[in-house]
């Protein structure tokens, strides 16, 4: 198994971790970070699998990752801004009141 598979598998681990955290952790900032975990996981998968070429690495996954990073930054910025506004409006850091079962729903 070549070394680039390590990156791809690591990416899958990150994606799974991020999915768990996005669904399970009630704190809003944790959810935003979890989404970034998922994103980083996918980027690692893209780069890892794009390295299977004989000579130079495949440029298309690299371009996809560059685009993906910018889009993820944009989405994270928006998420944090809404969380901040929500906090200043309600004083809460979770979607449901603490004490309730704070799932993602």
């Amino acid at each position: 198994m070549s070394s680039h598979y390590v990156y791809a598998m690591g990416g899958v681990v990150l994606f799974a971790l991020g999915t768990y955290a996005l669904l399970a952790r009630p704190h809003l900032i944790h959810k935003v970070i979890a989404a970034n975990f998922m994103g980083s996981g996918v980027f690692l998968v893209l780069i890892g699998l794009g390295n299977r070429t004989a000579a130079e690495p495949d440029p298309v996954p690299q371009a996809m990752v560059l685009t993906g990073i910018v889009v993820t930054v944009a989405m994270t910025a928006l998420g944090l801004a809404i969380v901040k506004r929500y906090y200043s409006a309600t004083g809460m850091t979770t979607l449901d009141a603490p004490g309730e079962d704070g799932e993602r729903r």
Partner: protein, 232 residues
């Protein structure tokens, strides 16, 4: 600030979901052949034809330039969105002072000019090596945030008319360049061979400016003293 919840139970359903996902994707990844070319052959050949030495830059700006166009739109949209989320019209009137100080101030004065030069270099080198508008724009954005943290850049600049123009100029120029071929014989973004390099350079420079301004504005527009805000 509310304290984090004390207990952290492992929640079963999300755990099962992520374990199942993990297994499925792992299996899919390991099932792949160990070597594959994908589009790299076609891309490398095309890059030679287009005259851009760095293949990734060629993909980003030339072959898949449409993706890049929309991606700039995403970044500008996020800035507009964050600007729309500020609570009151005067939410940005305070200067950022809690982080400013003499050490940060002098470091900023030393570093920001260097960062601007580095950003310019990253844009210029993009045609023949890793680099380009996003990379340069990120460095410019970091410089802008440094300026904000040391109090030189004021939050209310992010909402003013001049900043709006700086934010929009990159995308507008890109759209203009994209539409140029329609007057001749080409389709959208089909740069004429003769002026390709110059047009791309113009677009990249203005994009760098806009991206840097976007990242700085994202920071400035979110900057507000939370503890002093009223609960609406």
């Amino acid at each position: 600030m509310s304290r984090m919840p004390e207990r952290r139970r492992i929640r079963v359903v999300p755990l099962l979901v992520s374990l199942v996902l993990f297994a499925i994707v792992m299996r899919a990844v390991l099932a792949l052949p160990t070597s594959a070319e994908g589009l790299s052959g076609a891309m490398t050949a095309g890059a030679k034809a287009s005259g851009i030495k760095n293949v990734v830059t060629a993909v980003l700006l030339d072959f898949r330039g449409y993706d890049t166009l929309l991606e700039i739109a995403v970044l500008m949209l996020a800035t507009v969105a964050v600007l729309s989320l500020r609570a009151r019209p005067d939410a940005l009137s305070r200067k950022i002072t809690d982080t400013a100080g003499p050490v940060l101030g002098s470091l900023t004065r030393a570093f920001v000019p260097i960062m601007i030069v580095v950003a310019g270099h990253l844009v210029w080198i993009g045609s023949s090596g890793p680099g380009g508008a996003f990379q340069g724009g990120a460095v410019l954005g970091a410089a802008g945030i440094l300026l904000a943290l040391s109090g030189y850049a004021r939050p209310r600049w992010s909402a003013g008319r001049p900043m709006r123009w700086v934010l929009a100029v990159g995308l507008l120029t890109f759209i203009g360049v994209a539409l140029l071929p329609l007057f001749g014989d080409g389709t959208l973004l089909q740069y004429p061979d003769a002026s390709r390099k110059d047009l791309l350079l113009l677009v990249e420079v203005l994009l760098t400016l806009s991206i840097g301004a976007s990242l700085t504005s994202l920071f400035l527009a979110s900057a507000s003293d939370t503890s002093a805000e009223e609960r609406s």
